[in-house]
């Protein structure tokens, strides 16, 4: 059979390998021919391997002492000749199918001695020691969807089997979520948040799946605080921490939204906003309001600026990819009760049959665009980017690229205002806090 391009890049065919090995043996010993020995085992029908150096022994046990308040994949603890070690069911940990077992049935256990911990993992069957050469091991590949690529050291073919080599150190090692990102020389934050706490992990997944809210360094600080409160309350009531549905996810997120979102800003919000801007502004002031929704932030910001700096020429570009929301923005009509007196007394709105609408003078200032692309924004250099509570609802990689775009599209000394509970740190941003509100100033490029 004609070898395909893929095949030529893979490890050589068995016969070729044998030939190569013999030739190598005749030549000087080279590092790549190092033998790698692993314990081969199977989990839910697939073959895995763990470095034999990590495996202390093999055991067959059926009874574990149950420990309450642990994750569902922790079966309990076991007394191994005086040492109490946790027993983990890897199948449950990776959400693989597990056949129903009668309690007390003997399980196949690999006792692992890792850098920081000794523990046992339950597997389906243990196939013994297998040797491969390290050059036969291919880089990690999410070849199967079930296991996160982070946990895979590599893939190797041996005989007619394909083994996924697990990086057990990474699976069982703590890595604290980054609550205090490195300042100064750090680049714009990584988008990934690592956590060992399985409960928190489920909450993060629940937020993403049920509320389209993605936890990243932008919002992790608030999320952690909220999680602690949430967990405490749920534990007290005896309910699981995990979300039962979308309502739970939304309930979790109460308190995240910035004050004044979804409505025209009241006096407190307006003065907080002014506090984040320079005390004197003149000439032309360009605002980019990304994710403007129905337009509340854009209108509030524009009117506040016009009121505080009458001679200032303000221009605002507001965009959103949600047509239903933004379609009503240019002709936004609100009932009297929803309009703070500032807007009325300032003459920014006027009454119509159906409610209050912004005057043509105000509407001329804000251009609302239905768009999902940021290409136009390549042209605008903004003095202020207003993007409250929108970044957190993007997938992590999009959050990262949006923040990078913000950095590019701001004039030096330009300002970025995110949601009250969103943060950004990294090279090129200076954080300024004023009465609990934050603004990020684009630093001038170093000469």
């Amino acid at each position: 059979m004609e070898p395909t391009l893929d095949k030529t890049l893979e490890s050589p065919q068995p016969e070729q390998a044998a030939v190569a090995e013999r030739e190598a043996e005749n030549a000087a010993p080279s590092a790549s021919k190092v033998e790698y020995r692993m314990i081969a085992f199977s989990l839910a029908g697939r073959d895995y391997g763990i470095d034999i150096m990590k495996v202390k022994e093999i055991s067959h046990e059926g009874k574990f002492t149950y420990v309450p308040n642990t994750a569902h994949f922790v079966l309990g603890v076991h007394n191994l000749r005086g040492e109490i070690i946790p027993i983990i069911d890897l199948r449950k940990m990776f959400n693989l199918p597990v056949a129903e077992q009668k309690a007390g049935t003997e399980q196949n256990i690999l006792i692992l001695r890792l850098e920081k911990i000794v523990l046992g993992v339950v597997v389906d069957s243990i196939d013994g020691v297998t040797s491969v050469t390290t050059d036969a091991i291919q880089p990690p590949h999410p070849i199967f969807d079930d296991i996160n690529i982070r946990y895979i050291s590599g893939i190797v073919e041996n005989g007619d089997r394909l083994y996924v080599i697990l990086d057990v150190e990474s699976i069982f090692t703590e890595s604290a979520p980054s609550s205090a990102p490195v300042r100064g020389t750090a680049k714009i934050q990584e988008s990934v948040v690592k956590t060992r706490d399985q409960d928190l992990k489920f909450v993060l997944e629940g937020l993403a799946g049920l509320a389209s809210f993605h936890v990243t360094p932008v919002n992790i600080a608030w999320i952690q605080k909220r999680f602690a409160v949430w967990k405490k309350a749920r534990d007290k009531e005896g309910i699981s921490v995990q979300f039962r549905g979308a309502e739970d996810a939304l309930e979790f997120l109460t308190g995240f939204a910035s004050p004044g979102s979804g409505e025209l800003w009241k006096d407190a919000e307006r003065s907080s906003f002014l506090g984040l801007l320079p005390p004197r502004l003149s000439g032309m002031f360009v605002i980019w309001n990304h994710g403007c929704g129905r337009g509340f932030d854009a209108y509030s910001a524009v009117c506040t600026l016009k009121s505080a700096f009458p001679p200032l020429m303000v221009k605002a570009w507001a965009n959103d990819g949600n047509l239903v929301q933004i379609a009503s923005a240019p002709t936004l009509t609100l009932p009297k009760e929803s309009v703070p007196s500032f807007f009325v007394s300032g003459g920014y709105v006027r009454a119509s049959e159906t409610g209050f609408q912004f005057t043509p003078a105000v509407r001329e200032i804000v251009i609302f665009e239905y768009t999902e692309s940021l290409s136009r924004m390549e042209i605008i250099q903004a003095d202020l980017i207003l993007c409250r509570d929108a970044v957190s609802y993007l997938p992590p990689d999009q959050q990262k690229s949006l923040l990078a775009t913000f950095a590019e599209r701001l004039k030096p000394d330009g300002r970025l205002i995110l949601g009250t509970n969103e943060r950004i740190e990294g090279e090129g941003w200076k954080t300024v806090e004023k009465s609990g509100a934050y603004v990020y100033i684009r630093e001038r490029p170093k000469e």
Partner: protein, 154 residues
């Protein structure tokens, strides 16, 4: 695309098609497209100039184009000859002109170029600079996609 521009195009298409073809119409959900798009077979294009730049494209397969042209001429046309092309072009013109009139009443100045029509298989119209708003329209005669890409001159 600027929000105020959307409705005039959508309404205009709806109204003109109803008037000219006297047929049932349903409008599909609007969406945005930002990659290059293969054309269904017959495309009538009208450009915008002045305070804005961009174009509007009326996209349909040949069968639909012939059905529409036949209906508008009161006789069956079986090939995309000059008359059929002129008919589709005129339809595009009317829809665009009405939208532009409406926009002009709202204070937005759009100038339009004379229409052009392209027919052929496997055509691709590329625009990487401007996002398009797609208005899908379904009629018993067939499906028509109106593709508007317009933005302010900066």
């Amino acid at each position: 695309m600027r929000v105020e521009y959307i409705n005039p195009f959508v309404e205009s298409a709806f109204n003109v098609l109803k008037e000219v073809l006297d047929t049932e119409l349903t409008r599909g959900e609007l969406f945005l497209k930002s990659s290059s798009q293969p054309v269904l077979g017959v495309a009538a294009i009208i450009g915008f100039t002045g305070d804005v730049q961009g174009r509007i494209l009326f996209d349909m397969d040949e069968k639909t184009a012939l059905s529409i042209a036949s209906a508008m001429n009161g006789e069956t046309l079986s090939t995309m000859d000059d008359l059929a092309k002129a008919t589709i072009t005129e339809l595009a013109n009317m829809i665009t002109a009405r939208a532009v009139t409406k926009l002009s009443e709202q204070g937005f100045k759009f100038d339009i170029t004379p229409p052009a029509i392209f027919t052929g298989k496997d055509m691709e119209i590329t625009n990487t600079q401007i996002e398009s708003l797609i208005v899908p329209i379904q009629m018993p005669l067939g499906k028509l996609e109106i593709n508007v890409a317009v933005r302010e001159q900066m």
